[in-house]
Amino acid sequence: MFYAYGMSITLRYADTREQGAAILNDAFMKVFENIKKYDERRSFKPWLRKIIINTAIDHYHKEQKQPDVMDLESSEHAMAEDETVISGISYQEIIEMMQQLSPAYRAVFNLYVIEGFNHEEIAGMLGISVGTSKSNLAKAKRNLRVILEKNLT
């Protein structure tokens, strides 16, 4: 029941599907170990989501590599205003594009754009400065535009 939901989160942080499954397994282990701390009066999904995101960040810290200083060639073309074209992109394609980012850029992009954290919170979670968080987000978006454009052409 929660497998697909959990994998939809971990795949965005992982390099491969195998790694996503490993992160999800660790997250469920934490759920079982801490199930007594769960407040039944609240919804389960947000609690599960928080554990999965924290587990994904733990994996990021374990496998943290040097930040990718080689950015993709910046696109000089603005993204197409016609979202009809890009809305046809599937979820799987989105995931594959995100997995082409470096772990540092990918983590910031996920936490800011998808999860909704602000830069101060992201800086605390990843152990970076606010400026680095903003910089990494900008670089992630730039790289995604390049990847997206290559996929569309």
Partner: protein
């Protein structure tokens, strides 16, 4: 989390929207790969725990052996020194007069003028030998006594001489009185003499064999959920490291029976139709191979109270499980499972006991020994942690 941002950027809107449109199907392969990795990690953890357990047991055994070896070595050295001192004292001609003092010729010439030196020496040497064990004070007393006797026997003119060295003109045999004999320490303990030990202590062997049997109560969960008793019987071999410490091993055939809720069991794979049974009853035939240290805490003439501590390895000869379900309408349910698994679980359980041993004969003894077995790892097909208790009754033969 401060809340969703306003995504003015179309890229952000795209990813935000698509992230919620996930369509991920379950894949068995994901979990098979993960299962293999988890099993490998568990095996590594188990290996490390076993290594620590074996190292701790080895250090404990080495520590015990080292201590008792040192203790025996010290005693042996003391005995050797005593024997050596005894031998040295035996070789000496006289305790009272170990070195012949030079005789004062002035006094001798006054009494026996012209007495040859060798005759004088013969007289002075002709003194009773005293046993080795005579204390120095007693030796001095004897010397004084002999001197006093000699003085009494000397002519009056000789007594006035300040030199009381032994110049007795005739032999004086001074033999200790009978009472004095008894007061003296016993006969010298020479290395050449044999010491007769009581019959029981003769022919003492360090090896012994035992035949053991015991009822067995086993559980995998709480002690309050004990099932039908099983039983144990087997053979043990024991080696006496010192007068109080022994090490033993053996093979004990055990039939254990236990029952508990299904949560205590973790069999591989899934049971019927995804429905877990409410209760599982197990009966397993196990070969228990213990390694135990036994310490005699209190010793009496013919008996002793002892305590043991050790580890056991379990070899699962046969496992049988019966599953009970609340829902009897599940037609896919599996009601029983059995197999001669033959799995080996080294150093899987720790064992402790206290007991009483009575010597019915110098070579035979009987023991009563309540025990407990505590799990250190899971065993068997169902991966259960077995707690056992019972009381061994054994008969032992000293080789």
């Amino acid at each position: 989390m401060s809340g969703k941002h306003q995504h003015d950027d179309s890229l952000e809107r795209l990813f935000q929207k698509k992230a919620e449109e996930y369509d991920i199907s379950y894949r068995d392969e994901d979990w098979h790969k993960l299962e293999r990795r988890l099993d490998a990690r568990d095996a590594q953890l188990l290996y490390r725990r076993r290594l620590i357990g074996v190292a701790a047991a080895a250090m404990l055994i080495i520590g015990f052996l080292g201590y008792f070896t040192y203790d025996n070595h010290t005693r042996l050295n003391n005995l050797t020194e005593q024997i050596h001192e005894g031998q040295v004292a035996d070789e000496q001609p006289s305790i009272i007069d170990p070195t012949p003092e030079p005789v004062d010729r002035t006094a001798v010439d006054r009494v026996l003028p012209g007495l040859p030196e060798r005759d004088l020496l013969a007289i002075t040497e002709d003194l009773p030998r005293l046993p080795l064990a005579v204390a120095e004070e007693e030796q001095d007393e004897f010397a004084d006594e002999i001197t006093a006797v000699r003085i009494r026997q000397l002519p009056a003119t000789a007594v006035s001489s300040p030199d009381l060295s032994p110049v007795v003109p005739k032999r004086v045999d001074i033999k200790p009185e009978a009472e004095t004999d008894e007061q003296m320490t016993g006969p010298p303990l020479l290395a050449s003499e044999e010491v007769e030990l009581p019959d029981r202590q003769q022919k003492v062997s360090r090896f012994s064999l035992g035949l053991v049997g015991a009822p067995d109560l086993t559980t995998v969960g709480s002690v309050s959920n004990l099932h039908t008793p099983g039983y144990k019987f087997g053979l043990t071999a024991e080696y006496q490291l010192s007068s109080r410490l022994a090490i033993s091993t053996g093979i004990v055939h055990s039939t254990v029976r236990y029952s508990d809720r299904s949560e205590q069991y973790q069999p591989p794979g899934y049971l019927s139709g995804g429905v877990a049974p409410n209760e599982i009853t197990g009966e397993c035939i196990i070969l228990d191979v213990p390694i135990t240290l036994k310490l005699d805490v209190l010793t009496y003439d013919n008996s002793r109270i002892f305590a043991t501590a050790g580890v056991s390895s379990y070899i699962m000869l046969n496992e049988e499980y019966n599953f009970n379900y609340e829902n009897q309408y599940n037609e896919e349910r599996i009601e029983s499972w059995s197999d001669r698994t033959g799995t080996r679980h080294w150093l899987s359980n720790a064992g402790f006991s206290v007991g009483y041993e009575y010597d019915v004969h110098p070579s035979w003894s009987v023991r009563a020994e309540p025990f407990i077995r505590i799990p250190m790892q899971e065993v068997g097909w169902a991966n259960v942690r077995l707690f056992s208790m019972g009381s061994f009754v054994s008969i032992n033969y000293r080789l």
